[in-house]
Symmetry: C3
Subunit: 355 residues, 3 copies
């Protein structure tokens, strides 16, 4: 059992550091509420990744699919997405279906009781009444944390998975990125002693921030941050890397680092966060990955992208086997399946399935 | 078998009194179409409530959940909600899932063929073609009745459940209120010889109107109506109570009646029906239930609310065990499950499940 | 195995004639991607129709329903509808449920990543990652074809069913029309030697165009096209009929052809394609089917309509047994079920079910 949320008011809880919050979210060695990337330690990441791979293999036969669909057939999940998203939404939706869960959804604020003056807390508590799991995306930073605190203080708590809250946290995206890197390096010594290159809008992409932090859990990873000055990685992340003694390099020279890369993590310019169209004034074209760049990349190097993409990766690159961003999409579905199976304690049963 | 709708034109049917319509909606001693609160007699209410409690207990184990999910696994239900609602929608959705029904939905008029000039009658008949049950919410008073009449006159009738039509009928809300009262009084002699206090917007809340009518079926219930003058309960309801010889009191003095209450039914000011912002001019704050009022309430008294709430119940009240409005939400799911099981004739099978 | 899309660029593929494209869509004697009406030959149509009838009969018992729901229980389908539609959407939705498929949906462009500048190709490829079947409706002509080409060139192709693309193709509507005609003539010698009368907006209704073309596969069908001049059937269709030596008549005299008709296919004026309200200026009332016309129609004649209707068929006609447009709605569900079962190779198993 984790610590009891109800012993703290929200004001008290909110002020805690991430490190102090983690025991509330985790129950023993696994996540109960999955709300911040930091709550996953190395052991949890390894278990989730290996579970995802097992699930993927089980799903290859109709009998295996049927076995998986029995795991959570007695559970109901709700996807509460008050921010537009199709990718993350559908990925979770498929993951729920794989485990046989019944799914319902609330996507559009205009169909909700919020119109009638209800607080978001009351709405979420109502939604939680009908289900056994809440998966939520919200524009408000810290919203998923608050709801985890709220529900855990009621008679009928249900686990919460954060599918993205504000600019800050999107923990399952971090999981799928780690899983993709891990799989990409399966034949080249695993996720250790590698050069990981982040490219694009590093200032505003929450995925890069989370991933950079989680990579500190793996030995001897060097991180490269390639971006125009105004979009460079935050000083707070660099301070964390410094504190952990992790090697990194901050640069604007994309072509120079491509040959060094074991993995290149491309990102989209997130101009939806622009205050005044400022990113249009930046020449981002020099940070695009084109067909030419394929020649510079190691034979074992891989290219990731959280998607959606615009022009930052040329479509011609898609057919190169080192372009793994389409596999990354599927990886997201499998790791989310693993996470939910783990939250509901189905890990052992699934691992015992004869493959 | 009930009477045959097809022997009457809609114009003829529409003119009938509720009492004369009931045999068309009911088939023998159970609802077939569930469209008006008045169609439930005392025997039906008792059976539905006890069935709901049995279902709730069966659902406590995975094996029980699986048993329930087999009951209507061969049926498809459609939720046709042309008015915004998340609470009722999700409650029905979960109820369908509990019984294993396949669910589809039509929520947004803009995705519908109504755009192409189709009549609502044709739309509903089309929707009904794909499913075995239609659950519908509509802003038009009497719409569900008309559709019950229409479909029952076709080659392939399907049952209709009214999930709210216009200002008038919301029969499953009345069911869940009755069920919540019944459960709340399980250890205090049941739903008889009790004082039930209605507070707030009693003029426009269809839930209060339906519930006040159904309470006449229980012995020696005294009803109190606490509201500002312009929002008081309708004279037609009082006339019904008079005719039935039921005791009641109409008052503006909230504090005075709290100590007498076995149940307090709080309601929201329904300003969406305002013509000209008139309810903003009323001082409704004196009808709010605050933490202070808890001291006035009997130890066995309970507080209900159909939700969503605004300020009429202070959040601090939530943690008091006499605040049952969150349980009321779950009760709604269980009683709707019971209703659907009953409509499709699964009652006996479910009652026979070994607990 | 069909031909390999990946051996052609999209530009090359797009230029092929329908006849040359068909081997890419079909795999041997059945559809893999179902994107154009022309890809169905007579043998395929006969098999799909008889399969639909078998499925319909199996579905009459709970045991049969359960059997059907196991056929594709290990599959996930996605409905990607970027154009409003409730009828086709719900029909496919029910068909998926009948076969036990897990369904997800993307209906509203505003919830999609297209907002973030993603190409439609990337969106579709992402969606396809989560599922085993994509059913899509799109306003762009040829879109489903392009997506079939795109996905078949990736590591993980999934079949595509075209649920309507632009003004041109809506192949499953053609299937359900053929199925309805076939069933209507079961006791009168089948779909041969019949007079089929098309009425209304023949210029812009893609259903009429597809059906007229498919009817060429049946012996000795005479087609009548009854419409005001500006809405008459396209010259290209007539040229096809001429080339195939099929008999037809183009006329404005509705009353004259009714007595000759074995089937009357009524259509709606599709004024959503109007450039400048031009169809309002046409007197279409003389092409409406009224209660009076029933007397002119053969006892064995039938009236079809793809729905939604406006005034072109009087509501009073609905109760006549020769009005089969409501059955047509159900037929659509069954033939789509048959199509999906066939795509996934379940035909033999279903035909072997003991009835």
């Amino acid at each position: 059992m984790g610590k009891r949320f109800m012993d703290l008011s929200w004001a008290e809880f909110e002020k805690l550091s991430y490190a102090d919050k983690i025991p509330y979210f985790n129950r023993g060695e696994q996540a109960y509420h999955a709300v911040i990337a930091q709550q996953f330690d190395r052991g949890m990441l390894d278990r989730l990744c290996s579970l995802a791979t097992i699930i993927r293999r089980i799903a290859k036969t109709p009998a295996g699919t049927e076995f998986l669909a029995q795991q959570l057939a007695h559970k109901r999940a709700m996807l509460y997405f008050s921010q537009p998203s199709s990718r993350t939404f559908l990925s979770f939706y498929a993951a729920c279906q794989i485990l046989g869960m019944n799914v319902s959804e609330v996507r559009d604020a205009s169909t909700s009781s919020e119109m009638k003056g209800e607080t978001p807390e009351d709405s979420v508590r109502t939604f939680s009444s009908y289900v056994d799991l809440l998966i939520m995306r919200n524009q408000v930073q810290g919203f998923a944390e608050k709801m985890a605190w709220l529900l855990s203080s009621t008679e009928r708590p249900v686990p919460i998975i954060n599918a993205g809250s504000g600019k800050d946290q999107h923990p399952t995206q971090a999981l799928l990125d780690i899983y993709t890197l891990q799989r990409s390096f399966e034949r080249t010594g695993g996720l250790a002693d590698k050069n990981i290159v982040f490219v694009g809008d590093l200032a505003r992409g929450r995925t890069v921030r989370s991933l950079a932090a989680l990579l500190m859990l793996y030995p001897n990873i060097k991180q490269y941050f390639v971006a125009p000055e105004p979009l460079q990685i935050g000083k707070d992340i660099l301070a964390q890397l410094d504190a952990a003694g992790v090697q990194y390099e901050v640069t604007t020279d994309f072509a120079k680092v491509i040959p060094l890369a074991d993995a290149i993590y491309m990102t989209r310019i997130q101009d939806e966060w622009d205050k005044d169209g400022e990113s249009k004034k930046i020449d981002t074209a020099k940070y695009w990955f084109t067909e030419q760049h394929l020649k510079l990349l190691k034979p074992t190097g891989v290219i990731l992208h959280p998607l959606p993409r615009r022009q930052e990766i040329a479509v011609e690159v898609d057919r190169d086997p080192r372009a793994v961003y389409w596999r990354q999409v599927r990886n997201g579905m499998w790791i989310r399946t693993a996470l939910m199976a783990s939250i509901f304690g189905r890990e052992q049963e699934i691992r015992a399935y004869p493959l």
